[in-house]
Structures are given as structure tokens and as C-alpha cells.
Symmetry: C2
Subunit: 223 residues, 2 copies
């Protein structure tokens, strides 16, 4: 892919995953009144290496000034645009159990560009109640109101996740953040990202166990 002319636009996935990090670091710098930042400083703030940061940014275009650094505001702007944060994205949280409830109340989603607009559940006992200032609705209702691009946050129990995803996709959802501890299958063109608490703990456990072992001699010596 990519003829020489279309040189722009082919951002590696690993880079995309770091752009939000840079954006947050830039916001922190901005709020401290910093106007220009070097790749070294920004990398430090974002927890990456400076060479990697420069490579990442080079995929967006040439927004730095040699010998000087990057303009904080300008770079924020460019990254925001690249990430599509000039759009307004509406979020629907599906599944109002413990986790869904918490996510609705949690401010973390309400970054610039995103707002939680719908809370969905299928339990009649929950539908109609108010959580964090929003009425809980069912899928039929969501279908009525659903506009353009919604992002669905799946917070159902695992056994309900696939069906909930299917219903959301039927409504036109093409981006899903899946908190349910299970895999869901989706048609091509639908993007799923998974956040899995148990998995993260297990990965930590692996490393902690490993670290413990390493502390004494290498493996194989006394095993």
C-alpha cells in the first residue's frame, strides 16, 4: 500500500496507542504554562524514550522546530485532530451492574470529545432509574435516539456480552470498548478493544512470581 504521493497517512498501531499519552502529557505541560517542549522532556513526561517519541510524531508530520522543540499547543492540536477529537463522540454504556454503574459515575470518560449520553440495560427493575443524572433505557429506546457515531462501552456480565454487542452493532455501532471478561465476535469493520481486570492482575502475578525467583540465583541452579 501507499504510493509515494500518499506518503502521509499510515500510522503504525503502536504509535496510535501512544498518542493519547502524549496528549495527556502535553495537557499537563500546558496547564503549567509551558509553551515549548523538547522530545527529551516530553518523552520523560510520557514515560517513553525520546527517539521513539520523535519517530511517533514524525508519522503525523513535521511539527517540531530543530534546535528548539515542539510548540505545546500546536502539537496538542495536531494530535487531537489525528485522533478525531474534533468530532464529538457519544458514548453508550451497556449493562448497569456494579461496573457499568461505576463507569457511569466515573468522570474518566468525560475527556474532551467524549460524553456519556446513554445508559442501557435490559432489566426492567433498572430501566427508568436514574444514575449519574441519566435515565437508564432499554435497547428499543436507544434505537429511537441513536444518532451518528456512538461508541458502546460493554459492561454486561459475560454471558450477556455477545448479545448486547450484536444489538449495538445492529444499531450502527462500530466501536466497542469491552469490559466483559469474555471474547466477543464482531463483523469486519467493527473495532473492539478489551479492558480486562482479571487479565491484568494475572499478568502482574506472573511478573511478581518471576521477580521473586530472579532475586535468588538464576533458574536451573537449584531447581
Amino acid at each position: 500500500m501507499s504510493t509515494a504521493s500518499a506518503a502521509r497517512r499510515e500510522i503504525p498501531e503502536a504509535t496510535v496507542a501512544r498518542l493519547p499519552l502524549y496528549l495527556r502529557a502535553l495537557a499537563a505541560l500546558d496547564s503549567r504554562g509551558v509553551e515549548v517542549v523538547s522530545s527529551e522532556e516530553l518523552a520523560e513526561a510520557a514515560g517513553v524514550r525520546s527517539a521513539g517519541l520523535r519517530k511517533d510524531l514524525s508519522h503525523l508530520g513535521s511539527y517540531g522546530v530543530r534546535g528548539v522543540g515542539y510548540d505545546v499547543e500546536r502539537l496538542s492540536e495536531e494530535i487531537s485532530r489525528e485522533l478525531g477529537l474534533h468530532h464529538d463522540w457519544s458514548v453508550a454504556i451497556i449493562g448497569m451492574g456494579n461496573l457499568g454503574h461505576a463507569l457511569a459515575a466515573y468522570g474518566g470518560f468525560a475527556t474532551r470529545g467524549f460524553s456519556v449520553r446513554w445508559l442501557v440495560d435490559e432489566d426492567p427493575a433498572i430501566i427508568g432509574t436514574e444514575i449519574a443524572g441519566l435515565q437508564v433505557i432499554d435497547f428499543a429506546e436507544l434505537a429511537q435516539q441513536a444518532p451518528e457515531s456512538i461508541i458502546a462501552v460493554l459492561a454486561t456480565p459475560p454471558h450477556a456480552a455477545q448479545q448486547a454487542a450484536d444489538q449495538a452493532i445492529a444499531l450502527g455501532v462500530r466501536s466497542i470498548l469491552n469490559f466483559a471478561p469474555c471474547m466477543i465476535t464482531v463483523p469486519p469493520g467493527v473495532e473492539v478493544r478489551k479492558v480486562d481486570l482479571a487479565t491484568e492482575l494475572q499478568i502482574l502475578a506472573f511478573h511478581e512470581q518471576r521477580g521473586r525467583d530472579d532475586e535468588f540465583g538464576k533458574w536451573g541452579d537449584a531447581r
Copy 2:
């Protein structure tokens, strides 16, 4: 690193991150009474390619039977051991705001091997209250009770995260799951994994924007 003799024990990070996935898929199969599974089927259930699954498993040793497949129970056991789930891991949730509260109530952590044992906050108004059957304590109290290996789940606001992490580390914590939307710096030997809701949404937004664009001609045509 790694002499030829130490051939075992050098599991790629990418593989480690998938082991919990396999474990969950195996648990599902087991509960359905399946006793033997092929790499093809298990890969399907876990959402990966069969060749990759086989390569991953080969890092743990040779637990499959050619022409047959993998014994579900045996493989679960081996992966569990590898992940350190034969230990019991105690989890302390630090920060009892909306998110911490929810995480405490959420069952998702209580997979085999992990149990949430302490809820920590520094706000006197919260300390002493009971959440999900546990009393909220302060760091001093945690220091009293803290035993061997704790995993800390950071759910503080961003400005408090670094200090909370430092305190946890002073108590001997070496594994941190960070839900606070900020970077924390830790000494070598301490492992941090980050779960960041805003970041995930931004990555989804990027892809959704991209997908939208691709639907009509390539970029650059009408821009």
C-alpha cells in the same frame, strides 16, 4: 542473556499477555465438559490464530498430544502454574472514590488466586466506613497488616497517584495496576500496568474516524 542450557524460561511478553485469555477459554470449555481441545478450536475460542497459539504454548513446554490435541484440565493447570496462580495473591485497592468503590464491589477481581483484602483511603470521612464487606483503612493500618506479596490497585485521582504509589512501594508492593489517568514513576523491580479508559476511547475514536474516511475514496482525493 540465556545460555542454551536455560532454554526453558524465557517467555515472550506478548505470550504472557495471552495466557490469561487461554486460561479463560479453557475454563469455559471445561465447564461445558470438554476434555480435549485442538489448537484450532482453542484458538477460535480465544480469538487468536492456531499457529500462534501453538507457538505460545510451546514456550511452556510440550503439553499437547500430536494427532489429538490438548487435555483441557492439564493445560489449565500448567498455565495457572506459569502465571503464579497457585499462590494466593492479596489485592489492596487504594483510593475509594467512584472508581475504587466500584472496583471493590465488582466481582471481576475475584478470579481464582486473587482476593481483595484491603481498601485504603486517606480521607478521614471515608476511613472506617464499610464497602463491600470491608472496612476502609489508612496506610498506617495497611502497614500493620501488610504481609507478603500484595498487588496494589491504584484508583486515586491523578494528583494523588504518585504519592499513593510511593507509599505502597514503601510497604513492599512490587506490582501495581494503575487506573489513575497519569504516569507514575517507580524504582526498578516494581511492575506497573496501566488501565486507562480515556486512552482506550481515544484509540477507538481514531479508528472510527479512519474507517469513516476509508469508506469514501482514499484521502487526498478531496482534501
